[in-house]
């Protein structure tokens, strides 16, 4: 399986990473190389094998559905690149 430039462009869009047009051929080539390495997995007989979800055969513990903190708006906003009036601020989303 090799990745063409159109696929590389699409994957970059899905991942929300801007990749300049001039960089796409190199990216496609590198991804194809890595995928080629992964092709070995097709040699393995996986019939009847369940895909692994967790390495430990234990049920995840559930904690009580209770509020454990709160009233920490200032802390939550402290690292925001742009925060105003108690909100995270972003460019206009709705026209």
């Amino acid at each position: 399986m090799s990745i063409d430039i159109a696929t590389a462009r699409k994957v970059a869009k899905l991942a929300r990473i801007r990749v300049e047009e001039a960089q796409l051929p190199k990216l496609a080539e590198q991804l194809s190389g890595i995928l080629g390495f992964m092709e070995q997995l097709n040699e393995v007989d996986v019939s009847g094998v369940e895909p692994m979800v967790s390495v430990t055969p234990m049920r995840l513990k559930r904690r009580k559905d209770v509020v454990t903190d709160g009233n920490i708006q200032a802390q939550i906003l402290k690292n925001a690149p742009d925060a105003r009036e108690g909100f995270f601020a972003v460019p206009k989303v709705v026209e």
Binding site: I17, L35, F37, L41, N42, V55, K61, A80
Partner: protein, 493 residues
């Protein structure tokens, strides 16, 4: 005369309790060593004020006789751990300036035990790398040096490994997703253990691949690893994958007696083109364990060769999902926007500027293998192969094997920049002996065993049964004593 920063954790603990040394003096010795170590680029955020405050508090506890093992012990913390009010940026530009408002569970436990934080340690960006060359801080450098070249300390916990090997601290935290504790430990002649998945809480550690990530200690001896791990481990309600199991007294398990224990030697780890020196080291390790009374058993782990390709599907898939949170909204970097740019441009520019090349590559790869039409062909197939890799180990343990002995790395440390033009896959081969352990969720430890012909350290890896870190550490202790590795890098930095 040994300078205090050169002590092991065990020796410093005993000296502190006996009153022969104060935590402040010990901390000052480390801070002095750190200030003279900029050539290693191991400590990337120094926290001397925090360290001295913690050391004074530790001295007070020691005087009162309320001193856990790590009380007053100066440690380095990998930059992947969130530490309150202290930069924690996973060696990435996308988290530049991020100062968490909370403390990771591991560092919380260490501080409650009285440990002293000297600062944050260099690493590969988001723990993605095997040479510490993907760091936004620049390369960490191996204190070992045999010619003009600067060598990699390995990765991703390269700063942790360099700092411990150079005696800048008594021990350091690391994290291991595919070998990121064990490979750098082997490259720098120190000990590093990746515990069983679920033994140590992941809460507050920047996530890379959540089903594989596990934190562990990097230390100057196996005894130190036992002491340090006990302080990190244990159930945490904030991490639903952390196991609700009692933490044994790992240090007490170091009896040095492994008579009658069965040690498996997996034939699939004898790779084509394996350097003769690695082969020889492995044979020597086998002989040491046999001399100690263990029974050596040839075993087969038939799916070993599929571990790397499975890992490089699963880890990027999980990473692409985990790293989706870096969007320039809640924390970290946001790109400067042009007139008319909307939110999509903000995401795309922010992530292009903030993530380095290797991280971008893995996110894109992960996005691809999870995308519609490819999910079954890649991701689900890799998860099935993962189940088979785990089954291989289960079969070996069911047949009575106690631990498995393998090389830790395919080579000794290589020169920084030497892999710059290599294919990404070539760099991934560094993890060939270690990734199987993460895929199966098992504990694994790297122990320094000898020097190669160039004079660089080489390590062996022991792999244990799930939750049997105690037995694993005891085997490692036997190997350590038999190998008698005492070489130290000559100071050049």
């Amino acid at each position: 005369m040994t300078s205090p920063n050169e002590l092991t954790i065990a020796a410093a603990r005993d000296a502190l309790r006996a009153g022969d040394l104060s935590a402040v003096d010990l901390t000052m010795a480390c801070l002095t060593a750190i200030d003279a170590s900029d050539g290693l680029n191991a400590f990337v955020h120094k926290t001397p004020d925090i360290a001295l405050d913690q050391a004074r508090a530790a001295d007070a506890r020691l005087r009162q006789g309320d001193a856990p093992d790590l009380c007053g012990i100066p440690l380095g913390i990998k930059d992947l751990f969130c530490t309150r009010g202290v930069p924690s940026q996973a060696a990435s530009n996308i988290l530049r300036g991020f100062r968490p408002e909370y403390e990771s569970t591991v560092t919380t436990r260490l501080f409650e035990a009285g440990a002293v934080m000297l600062g944050k340690l260099n690493m590969d960006e988001f723990a993605m790398g095997s040479s510490n060359e993907t760091s936004a801080y620049g390369n960490a450098v191996n204190p070992w040096k045999v010619d003009d070249r600067r060598l990699t300390p390995g990765g991703s916990s390269g700063g942790s490994a360099a700092a411990v090997a150079a005696d800048l601290c008594l021990g350091a935290t690391g994290t291991d997703t595919g070998g990121s504790i064990r490979q750098p430990a082997a490259f720098t002649g120190i000990t590093g253990i990746k515990p069983t998945y679920g033994r140590v809480s992941r809460w507050g550690i920047v996530a890379f691949a959540s089903s594989l990530d596990q934190a562990g200690p990097m230390t100057k001896s196996v005894r130190d690893a036992a002491i340090f791990l006990a302080a990190m481990a244990g159930h945490d309600p904030k991490d639903s994958t952390s196991a609700d199991l009692a933490v044994p007294d790992f240090e007490a398990a170091l009896t040095g007696d492994i008579r009658g224990q069965k040690i498996g030697i997996p034939r699939e780890y004898r790779m084509d083109g394996m350097p003769a020196e690695i082969e020889k080291l492995w044979a020597e390790g086998i002989a040491m364990m046999q001399d100690a009374g263990a029974r050596i058993v040839d075993i087969s782990l038939p799916h070993t060769r599929y571990a790397l390709p499975a890992y490089y599907v699963i880890a990027p898939a999980e990473a692409s999902s985990n790293l989706a949170r870096y969007d320039g909204v809640r924390y970290g970097h946001r790109a400067k926007l042009a007139q008319g740019d909307g939110i999509t441009e903000m995401y795309e520019k922010t992530r292009a500027e903030g993530f380095g090349a290797e991280v971008q590559r893995r996110i894109l790869l992960g996005t691809y293998v999870l995308s519609a039409g490819f999910y079954d062909a890649y991701y689900n197939r890799a998860r099935k192969v993962r189940a088979l890799i785990k089954r291989d180990f289960e079969n070996a343990f069911a047949a009575g094997i106690d631990t498995i002995l393998t090389p830790a790395t395919p080579t000794s440390a290589f020169g920084l920049g030497e892999m710059a033009n290599a294919d990404p896959v070539e760099m991934y081969l560094n993890d060939v002996f270690t990734v199987t352990v993460n895929l199966a969720g098992l504990p694994g430890i790297a122990v320094p065993v000898g020097l190669d012909s160039k004079g660089l350290p080489l390590g062996l890896q022991l792999i244990g049964r799930p939750w049997d870190e105690a037995g694993l550490l005891n085997h490692a202790y036997v190997l350590e004593r038999a190998a008698g590795f005492v070489a130290k890098p000559a100071k050049w930095w």
